[in-house]
Symmetry: C2
Subunit: 150 residues, 2 copies
């Protein structure tokens, strides 16, 4: 099976399959005489596992752990659960941050006339943050590390 076919069957782009191989997330694929990578159905199975985990927001590092446990027939489900729970906590932290931003901005937008005049409470708040919003200020807690994540 070509990389293109494995890509279609798994939902992982060919670029990413090569990347995962290069970074050691997945073992090096077999090669045909031509140099083409050759994938088995079980390889595709693994790729779909990865794809699904990515869809759930796991990082490649986390997927590495999950894959190890997946392959380990003597694993303890507690280990899997711990990783998943840690990821949920992480997701909820990010959700809370985004909600805080949205709430603060929502208040400001509600206060903005949105007409042809230049007076704008949104700009005013960016200039001089007021703490009279229904949401605590963002500048207090260590949000910096959590912010830049896409």
């Amino acid at each position: 099976m070509n990389i293109g076919q494995a890509s279609k069957a798994s939902g992982v782009s060919a670029k990413m399959i090569r990347y995962y191989e290069q970074t050691g997330l997945i073992p090096k694929a077999d090669r045909r005489d031509s140099g083409y990578r050759d994938y088995s159905p079980s390889d595709v199975h693994m790729l779909r596992f990865i794809r699904r985990a990515r869809d759930l927001g796991f990082s490649v590092a986390e997927i590495n752990e999950l894959l190890s446990l997946w392959r380990d027939k003597a694993r303890q489900s507690a280990d899997v659960k711990r990783i998943a729970q840690a990821h949920i906590d992480q997701l909820q932290q990010r959700i809370a941050n985004l909600e805080q931003m949205a709430a603060t901005l929502g208040t400001l937008v509600d206060c903005c006339a949105g007409d042809g005049r230049p007076d704008c409470p949104i700009l005013a708040d960016l200039e001089e943050p007021g703490d009279d919003h229904d949401v605590p200020s963002l500048t207090t807690a260590g949000i910096g590390r959590l912010r830049h994540r896409h």
Copy 2:
């Protein structure tokens, strides 16, 4: 005022101040004879504006627009409001995605015994996604908690 002092006063790291200058987000700073950048209080003001906007999750591109409007005394507040509202929509889209992930994972975690045995519904779902996780209804959630005993 040195870049270090401007950094402390604005909450923007010196690295990022140089980066913003380099990418044209902020104008080139004045230089002393020594080559050191020199910042005025109004520069610091601008940096705090940027910092605040970053904390609210605006991208640098969006901040560029906001800065233009900020400087434009004849701006229309509708323009600011439009940008802010678009950003809120974007935030809420991301929140919805994350919540979807967290909900799915939450259901799986609830179904996982988390003990020493290898059987794990989390791994099973990654392997072969079931579609009953997307809408964690009361019944499924309740059953999920009842389904595992330890």
